[in-house]
């Protein structure tokens, strides 16, 4: 199994072979993230191709000290996907922020509320996740579904880990508020 550095070197020296190697290793990871965000396979494929094209063009700017190659590709894909979604339609906002902050609930209570195991609540949560704006959906996906640490999420989404932790708390509060309504 080749390391990130070997793949990067292969791309830099023997372009075609290195590119194939990189697509084979990270294609599915990037495509998976994009298709979950945009929801359409054709758009996701196009965006994944854009991601790799840009990565091949800017291979010099990749710094292995900052993040793994996969994370770097996800960062490019995230930016392209957000741009694409902004062009396609305005971002969805399910709940007003003011409403969210009025909810007085601490982290432990929130955790308990979102860990009941109730089948109905889980189904409702599935629907609510679809209504979230793409950046919030991606954060949940990266952190809770792909189990990525906040440091990695912060690199992909170009935000500080502290800001992302706050955002996660806010999203959970938002979901909890919506669950209470139903």
């Amino acid at each position: 199994m080749k390391t990130d550095k070997q793949i990067v070197d292969a791309v830099m020296s023997d372009q075609r072979k290195g590119q194939d190697l990189m697509v084979g290793r990270y294609g599915l990871e990037v495509f998976g993230m994009v298709v979950r965000l945009v929801g359409d396979v054709m758009d996701a494929e196009e965006l994944t191709q854009d991601t790799f094209l840009r990565a091949f063009r800017c291979m010099d700017s990749y710094d292995p000290q900052r993040a793994s190659l996969g994370t770097w590709l996800c960062r490019i894909a995230y930016r392209l996907t957000l741009d694409f979604m902004k062009r396609r339609r305005p971002l969805l906002v399910s709940i007003e922020d003011s409403e969210v902050w009025q909810t007085d609930i601490n982290d432990e209570q929130l955790e308990a509320e979102l860990s009941t195991g109730n089948e109905e609540r889980i189904s409702r949560l599935e629907e609510l996740i679809d209504q979230l704006p793409p950046d919030e959906r991606l954060l949940l996906m990266l952190h809770y579904f792909e189990e990525r640490p906040l440091d990695e999420c912060s690199f992909i989404m170009d935000a500080s880990p502290h800001a992302l932790a706050n955002r996660l708390y806010r999203i959970r509060k938002k979901l909890h508020k919506q669950l209470q309504k139903t």
Partner: protein
């Protein structure tokens, strides 16, 4: 990272995203096709986009510059020449004596023509306009100075102020000299010719000599 946290949310996400479609089989081939065609085209479009934006900005800047150039100068002149114009009007309205047109006026100030020509009791049309309508006089004067010195004169307010002051002084000097000459001739003629006893030489309000005939004195 705690994995037992927010289990409902995790489960909902797992159900929602577990069945992710796999990467299309011909993905690499299509990517290869795009790599062969896309970069040049996208680069060209990018370059032209910036060029057209720069050209548009340049055109707007030139347009704004031209607009200000044509609108700024007359506005500042109107403001600047207002006090001078008052002085000029006063001078013109005080001229009651007959003054003949002097060739020196034109020599001194080129194409600028003074407005006080004609009989003493009937000022010329231009004099009336100067007294009555300050704005139109301003414009006329500005145009005359522009014609003589070129449009560049309006670019400096100081130049304009100096030009207007010089014109006023020239005009004043010429009028004074003409009056003195005329009075001298009248006085010499009066002294040289025999006059009836009831005829005297007097100075009118404007400072000009006049020969008048006195009435018979009624003796009480």
């Amino acid at each position: 990272m705690k994995t037992n946290k927010d289990t409902d949310l995790r489960e909902a996400l797992r159900r929602r995203y577990a069945n992710t479609p796999s990467l299309p089989t011909d993905f690499t081939e299509r990517l290869r096709e795009r790599m062969d065609t896309k970069p040049a085209a996208s680069h060209r479009r990018h370059w032209w986009g910036w060029m057209s934006a720069a050209a548009a900005c340049l055109l707007i800047a030139i347009g704004v510059g031209v607009y200000y150039e044509f609108n700024k100068a007359p506005h500042s002149i109107a403001k600047l020449s207002a006090p001078d114009n008052k002085t000029e009007c006063t001078q013109l309205s005080n001229r009651g004596a007959p003054i003949r047109q002097s060739g020196r006026t034109n020599q001194a100030i080129g194409a600028h023509r003074l407005s006080n020509r004609g009989a003493p009791t009937k000022p010329s049309g231009r004099t009336n306009r100067a007294i009555g309508a300050h704005q139109s006089s301003n414009r006329a004067r500005s145009t005359e100075i522009s014609d003589t010195l070129g449009n560049g004169i309006w670019r400096s307010e100081r130049n304009v102020a100096i030009a207007i002051q010089m014109l006023s002084e020239c005009e004043e000097t010429i009028l004074r000299e003409e009056q003195e000459m005329r009075n001298h001739i009248i006085q010499a003629t009066f002294n040289a010719t025999p006059q009836p006893a009831n005829v005297v030489l007097v100075t009118n309000e404007a400072g000009d000599y006049e020969v008048i005939e006195t009435k018979t004195i009624i003796e009480i």
